[in-house]
């Protein structure tokens, strides 16, 4: 969690047991470079550690992952994005001051950040009350998602 991984294909990057977190997958078809950022909270503002762990926050994760990919030679303009996660695992939990559950706030922040970076969101598997696992195959840019109750399917 709060981690950022980059890989030049062939090979796979995976995130297991995603709950209210949001995992952002980026892949550049021109270079075969792919990356995952596993974010836990919606916004970095007012958090003391966001400069050290930008991937922890949905709004700073996009820029941080794009920068890591660019360092390896990927082009931001050709990167494609997927979002997985943002579930509300304890549906019965009494809400506190923010009216939306954390998973949903994570998603809204991640989508907004992708828009501001002009990155195309190809597909997402998000929300609901179930945990997910996912993998990105950097050789062809395919993303698979599964859960405790469902077999892997291509996103």
């Amino acid at each position: 969690m709060a981690e950022l991984k980059v890989l030049k294909g062939p090979g796979k990057l995976a995130a297991h047991g995603i709950g209210s977190c949001v995992v952002l997958a980026l892949w550049d078809p021109e270079t075969g470079l792919g990356g995952l950022a596993h974010s836990m909270l919606p916004t970095a503002s007012a958090q003391p550690d966001f400069e050290e762990t930008p991937a922890k926050y949905c709004d700073t994760a996009v820029g941080a992952l794009l920068a890591s990919l660019a360092e390896q030679g990927a082009k931001s303009a050709s990167c494609r994005a997927w979002l997985v996660g943002g579930a509300n695992m304890f549906a019965a939990l009494p809400r506190e001051v923010p009216p939306l559950p954390l998973g949903e706030r994570n998603l809204l922040s991640a989508r907004e950040s992708l828009r501001s970076w002009n990155v195309a969101l190809l597909a997402e598997d998000c929300g609901g009350d179930r945990g997910r696992s996912m993998e990105l195959d950097c050789s062809d840019g395919s993303v698979r998602v599964w859960s405790a109750w469902t077999a892997p399917r291509r996103l």
Binding site: M1, A2, H16, G17, I18, G19, S20, C21, M40, L41, D49, K56, A87, M89, F90, A91, A92, L93, P94, L102, G103, D129, R130, G131, R132, S133, S147, A148
Partner: protein, 214 residues
């Protein structure tokens, strides 16, 4: 980031002793409820990082049932009872008094039974703790999730805004029901809450908790 918590052997002993007292109370309550003898032991208490918790219960994708409480009062934070998905069948059969062959998906009755089990265990433990430290600790209503261990625990950690922090793990076992059934009780303190508990314990036991800290 939060600084790592290192507890002295004396502090861990004090917490385990509280765990034993809580377990005894929970066992009495369960015995009365079920009309049969119940024993619960607490073989281990440890401070573990949240990230490593799934490894105690079968890995990131292992199926678990989690009963989740927010805590308020003298030791704010949250508490989770984690049950291994594979033990749900035998556990529910005993709780419900009739064989439960396919435990999942949980029936409404099974969900209630697990929440009640969480209430009894977490409530007993916190009452024992309250009595020792001299301040009250209140439980919220329980919330239940059955899913991959990492999905559930990461959501708990995010809800508690405690990522990177450490949790107190009380490994307990329900005995006398065939194979021992592991019950993992996890306390995620808010910043400063565990220190408050330890100070309370030190006052009540008269032991300087830092006496043998290496």
């Amino acid at each position: 980031m939060n600084k790592p918590l290192i507890l002295s052997p004396l502090e861990l002993d004090a917490l385990r002793e509280t765990g034993n007292m809580g377990a005894a109370r929970a066992a009495t309550a369960l015995s009365r409820l079920l009309g049969r003898s119940v024993n619960i032991d607490v073989p281990r208490v440890a401070v573990v990082s949240l990230d490593s918790l799934p490894s105690f219960i079968g890995g990131d994708e292992a199926l678990v049932a989690a009963v989740y409480f927010r805590l308020s009062g003298g030791a704010p934070g949250c508490m989770v009872l984690l049950l291994d998905g594979q033990t749900l069948g035998p556990l529910l059969s005993t709780l419900m008094g009739s064989p439960v062959t396919s435990a999942l998906p949980l029936s409404a009755d099974s969900e209630s039974a697990l929440k009640e089990m969480g209430n009894i265990l977490c409530g007993s433990y916190l009452n024992a703790m309250s009595d020792l430290v001299g301040f009250s600790i209140m439980l919220s209503v329980p919330a239940l999730a059955v899913d991959m261990a990492s999905s559930v625990l990461a959501s708990v950690a995010a809800d508690a805004a405690q990522h990177g922090a450490q949790a107190l793990l009380l490994e307990s076992r329900l005995l006398d029901w065939g194979q021992p059934i592991p019950l993992h009780l996890v306390y995620l303190p808010e910043p400063g809450a565990l220190e408050g508990l330890l100070a309370g314990l030190a006052r009540s036991t008269g032991v300087d908790p830092r006496g043998d800290r290496g």
